[in-house]
């Protein structure tokens, strides 16, 4: 007997029910229903909540009135941090005027030598101050992962209340689930040496968010 048959046999015995086909139909109906659990009630507007939460998780936040103003904000941040103005970006933000702001940008997947990664995001979750990034040809996952500094452009109109709302948006706009959905909430951290929290474990040490569409 194969391991599969043996394990499923044991599971079936433990479950102790007949009518596999009916139970499977019921399970599929349950999947289609997509019932939500207890939902939070978020006070105030979503952008404010998102910002406060993100800052509490050690991200820094800047605001710009529109998307075209993002490269200048990125350049400001990089200068303030004393970093070299060389960025790797996801192709979905390559249309912006990076060169005009003294930035040297290249759109591709990131490599180890890249120091600053700039990405957009699919949407953001106000409840937890979280970015939702989808892997795709124009948004490779490595750009938000390998560089020490991750700068993300967040369109204020794309801030939803909960993870459930983010999933609903994903289903409505994309239909299929990408290879990787990465929810990112601030710089990477560890507490594994004597329970002391250190920012910058394996992922970025700094996460800077540029909120687009809020008056600065």
């Amino acid at each position: 007997m194969t391991a599969r048959d043996e394990i499923l046999g044991r599971v079936r015995q433990g479950v102790g029910k007949d009518g596999f086909a009916q139970r499977k139909a019921a399970a599929q109906a349950l999947l289609a229903a997509r019932e939500r659990g207890p939902q939070p009630v978020l006070a105030g507007d979503l952008a404010k909540r998102f910002r406060a939460k993100a800052e509490s998780l050690s991200s820094t936040v800047d605001t710009v009135p529109d998307r075209r103003a993002a490269p200048a904000a990125v350049a400001r941040y990089i200068a303030a941090q004393n970093l070299r103005p060389e960025i790797v970006m996801t192709p979905d933000v390559a249309d912006l005027a990076w060169g005009g702001n003294g930035l040297q940008g290249v759109a591709r997947a990131a490599v180890d030598a890249d120091r600053i990664g700039v990405t957009a995001c699919f949407c953001a979750v106000a409840e937890t101050g979280t970015l939702m990034l989808l892997s795709a040809p124009d948004s490779p996952a490595t750009v938000s992962l390998l560089p020490e500094t991750h700068i993300a452009l967040v369109d204020t109109s794309r801030i939803v209340a909960t993870m459930e709302d983010a999933f609903a948006l994903l289903r409505a706009e994309r239909g299929e689930i990408p290879r990787a959905i990465n929810f990112v909430s601030g710089p990477s951290r560890t507490g594994d040496i004597e329970q002391t929290i250190v920012l910058g474990a394996h992922g970025p040490c700094r996460v800077h968010l540029i909120l687009i569409g809020t008056p600065s």
Binding site: I7, G14, G37, T142, R179, D192, H202, G203
Partner: protein, 481 residues
């Protein structure tokens, strides 16, 4: 003896517990960690109220999500397999840990793998996967900082979410110096960021060069055939993004139906573990690299592992399969924080381990663990999926008695007690003698310091002196008055 039992040291619990209690370095580490864990969780749970959420309501929701999948687990496994396969992943099954090792080694050989980076997986500890890989000439590199430290020390994790909780800064410094080929320096806690940086740089090179990434899964999502991975360090993302092959090793009980169910569980999992409202990285991994993608694995394999889990379905212990491995039970356990995780002798320490170890390695191979409890139910009251841990430990104790696994002296005492309890007059007479004896034992301060009948028990504690008369005597006296 099962394969799992072969590696268990749970039968040496009493001896190990004694050693651990007398280890001042370990005791310091534990005393430092406990208030942090308890305080952070309390704060995280209290913050639910800010969003009009309530722990008990969320807990009931999480409990019922887990129960729903377990009630029809055969169906959910079937759906998961179907949908995961449709995304281009391969689904394999393993009866036990040895089979996990064989499957992973086989995949590694087929893809010419010489090095595998690993994200934290307790199931891979159950399976002794690192040993199996090393024997096959494949280098396993643990990449969670705590796991990396433990691997360098040649030890096993002593906590499921803080594997190196028992290690001091000095020990970490010595291990890093040896592994990274540099002299040992004097370190203070101000140097912890530097040490973390050092490990980051070393492990980064491993991430970039490993041909295979191995991870566990916090959950499997049936709806989409997805593995959910929750980490803070980002190593989970590295391991599942950079190597050309990604192997997910996880238990058959980890399934939840929908993304919505996953979102509900995520409101309690990080809060229960570290008090965080969300972990830094939550990754949902589905299938392989898509057309046009410039990163991601070309091959994704799920290994769904039984290793004793299926036997719990329909048994008195089915509740235990709800466990989402947050670690809250051990973080609140007075026994865990007196001994640390290694005393428990197998993969899972604390109350979780006191139930899982006997069930997965054999009740007869872990006789002390269900007794390693004060019965305080701190674990049961913080469990996000409401597992009645003390009740399960009780049931295991009962089973030990039913199967005649208790020592003869204990069995004799219980028989004698039962005989006596069936004879009320004799019982009352004996009790009168006993309370007077206890009263006579007490010293001037009203405490009993040496209890002749149970020297082992009284060596560590004093007993306040009793009233000198039995309850029956006192009751009668009061009625007369």
């Amino acid at each position: 003896m099962t394969a799992a039992a072969k590696h268990s040291q749970a039968m040496h619990f009493q001896a190990r517990a004694g050693e651990k209690v007398r280890n001042p370095v370990l005791q310091r580490a534990l005393q430092k960690a406990k208030p942090l864990f308890v305080g952070k969780r309390a704060k995280g749970i209290a913050a639910l109220a800010d969003d009009a959420l309530d722990f008990e309501t969320l807990r009931s929701a999480c409990e019922s999500i887990r129960n729903r999948t377990l009630a029809d687990l055969d169906v959910w496994l079937d759906i998961f397999e179907e949908r995961a396969t449709a995304t281009g992943a391969e689904v394999l099954w393993a009866r036990d840990g040895e089979e996990v090792g064989r499957l992973v080694v086989d995949i590694a050989r087929r893809h010419g793998v010489t090095k595998a980076t690993k994200s934290k997986s307790m199931l891979s500890e159950e399976a002794h996967l690192n040993e199996a890989l090393a024997e096959a000439g494949i280098r396993p590199v643990e990449t969670d900082l705590g796991e990396y430290i433990v691997q360098l020390a040649g030890e096993t994790p002593s906590h499921i979410i803080a594997p190196a909780i028992h290690k001091t800064l000095e020990e970490v410094e010595a291990l890093f110096a040896a592994e990274h080929g540099r002299p040992v320096e004097t370190r203070t806690s101000a140097d912890i960021p530097d040490l973390t940086r050092e490990a980051r740089e070393v492990l980064r090179q491993h991430f970039l060069t490993a041909e295979m990434g191995i991870s566990g899964a916090n959950f499997l999502i049936a709806e989409s055939g997805t593995a959910a991975l929750v980490t803070n360090e980002g190593n989970g993302r590295m391991v599942t993004t950079l190597p050309k092959v990604h192997v997910v090793v996880t238990g058959i009980e980890k399934i939840v139906p929908t993304l919505e169910d996953f979102a509900t569980l995520m409101r309690l999992l990080p809060r229960s573990a570290t008090g965080q409202s969300i972990s830094n990285y939550v990754s949902l991994l589905t299938g392989t690299k898509r057309e046009g993608d410039c990163d991601g694995p070309e091959k994704t394999v799920f290994i769904l592992v039984d290793n004793g889990r299926a036997n719990l379905l329909g048994s008195a212990y089915q509740d235990m399969l709800r466990c989402i491995r947050c670690g809250a039970c051990m973080n609140h356990c007075p026994v865990y924080f007196s001994l640390g995780g290694h005393a428990y002798g197998w993969v899972y320490p604390g109350p979780m381990g006191s139930v899982l170890t006997p069930l997965y390695t054999g009740i007869e191979n872990a006789l002390d663990l269900p007794h390693a409890s004060t019965g305080c139910n701190q674990c049961g009251s913080v469990c996000p999926v409401r597992i009645p841990l003390p009740r399960l430990m009780h049931r295991l104790r009962e089973e030990q008695v039913e199967r005649g696994l208790r020592p003869w002296s204990e069995r004799f005492m219980l028989k004698a007690w039962a005989w006596l309890a069936g004879r009320p007059a004799l019982y009352r007479w004996m009790m009168r003698r006993a309370v007077r004896y206890l009263n006579w034992l007490a010293d001037d301060s009203g405490r009993i310091r040496i209890f002749g009948l149970a020297p082992g028990w009284s060596a560590g504690r004093d007993l306040p002196v009793a009233a000198g008369r039995t309850f029956n005597e006192l009751y009668k006296a009061r009625k007369r008055a």
